[in-house]
Symmetry: C2
Subunit: 260 residues, 2 copies
């Protein structure tokens, strides 16, 4: 590592080199990288420098480490989440009630799985504010979903619905029935007419990192999804948390849509 052409630090240089080598196919997808010791020797730097470079590529989701075994190139292409199709009636019918998530995962040739836990819960204050309910009491039905692709955890999705709406209805059943809970809102005369989503990027919380098997240096998409009735009442807030390197988000809409 004699030259440092771009002026960047050595560990960024090493990271860039390895990134390029992976992109060039020099280390195949799923394949193992040389040990840090070997890389250090080959590049003429200390092992700690290589380790720091690899920690960058790890944070980008380009490689992962099996501790005690070695460092490997990530092989999985990103999951595409089309937010609009997810919630369209046509897609619900086309998918035969399997749900948007199952469609997304199946599209990649992987097997979807999803665990649902329904409870009555205290909503996060941000959610309570949107729904106009108390954030002190168990004022919501919470549908907590943990989602997998081929047994790899890929998403956490927590839906909150005011107890006043969902209490005692089919929304409290684990199996949300044909067409998903969207259809249950329609059954209750509270059809969702408009959807909003807010997207943030942040590091995972400790719990999230554990479930999603992420390092604290990686990032998650934090999507706040809200369903509104035609007269502007928020009836459902869903918080989606997804590893940023695992997903690609897609949106589409008519160009001259009027804000409502």
């Amino acid at each position: 590592m004699i030259s440092s052409p771009s002026g960047a630090s050595q560990y960024h240089e090493v990271a860039a080199r390895l990134r390029d080598a992976i992109a060039a196919g020099e280390y195949p997808r799923g394949g193992q990288l040389p040990t840090e010791e070997k890389l250090a020797e080959r590049l003429g730097v200390h092992r700690v420098t290589v380790n720091r470079a690899l920690s960058i590529l790890r944070a980008e989701g380009l490689v992962y480490v099996h501790r005690g075994k070695g460092t490997f190139v990530t092989e999985i292409p990103p999951i595409r989440r089309n937010a609009v199709l997810r919630y369209s009636r046509e897609a619900r019918e086309r998918s035969g009630g399997r749900g948007a998530f199952a469609t997304e995962i199946t599209a990649l040739g992987r097997a979807p799985r999803s665990d649902v836990t329904v409870s009555r819960a205290v909503p996060p204050s941000r959610v309570a504010a949107i729904l106009g309910v108390s954030d002190q009491d168990k004022s919501c039905v919470r549908r907590a979903r943990l989602m997998y692709a081929d047994d790899t955890p890929v998403q956490i999705a927590d839906s909150y619905i005011p107890l006043e709406i969902a209490g005692g209805t089919a929304i409290e059943d684990t199996d949300s029935g044909p067409g998903g809970i969207i259809s249950r809102f329609a059954d209750l005369g509270l059809a969702q007419a408009r959807i909003t989503e807010e997207i943030d990027i942040r590091p995972p919380s400790t719990d999230e990192a554990e479930f999603l098997k992420m390092s604290p240096d990686q990032r998650v998409y934090d999507v706040t999804h809200t369903g509104w009735t035609a007269n502007g009442r928020a009836v459902e807030v869903c918080l989606h948390v997804m590893p940023a390197h695992q997903w690609r988000l897609e949106y589409e809409w008519p160009a001259d849509q009027q804000p409502s």
Copy 2:
């Protein structure tokens, strides 16, 4: 730093502590943190460990460093980009032709500025594929914008329009005229009927990092925006690059929109 309750490494522990202290207002927005030496002494760790912890908070955009001066808490709230409103006719009229970006920045009490460079250029191959043009020739008009809020660089936006459409039209003028270039497409009988956006997260390229004043450990939103006519022709692709910690993305759409 005797206790390591969560099992995480010391530098992650230190990062978490400082993150909490900042959230608690112990270090006010815009204020300076103690020196690394002081923090190291106070926490009973080596300065290098504190430095590594701070590099995490830097990557998150929570603090920034003036080299030689010290480390400071970031004071700026995220810029909200509502993708749908941006391109609605109503918003164009309401903003009096100032454009969506100016509206977003003004909403935060900051002063927008934008430099436009128009040229004929070779599009990136991904863009060429969407537009159905050659990626060998200068087959596109490129409108490259560099955008600032109070002289802070906040976005790079490169629009590509097939030369066949834009060549010799008002789209090649630096001043895109009333209603922006969206209105120029309508003038040409190629009104955009549908918009799609794809969102990715990645580290900045060297050039992007330099212009946006980012560290290589930070992340950008990479938004591929495409405008389609009613009969499904892609007439414009715009690549937006924004520091992820500086922006929040918002979308909204009617719940039962038919995919087109």
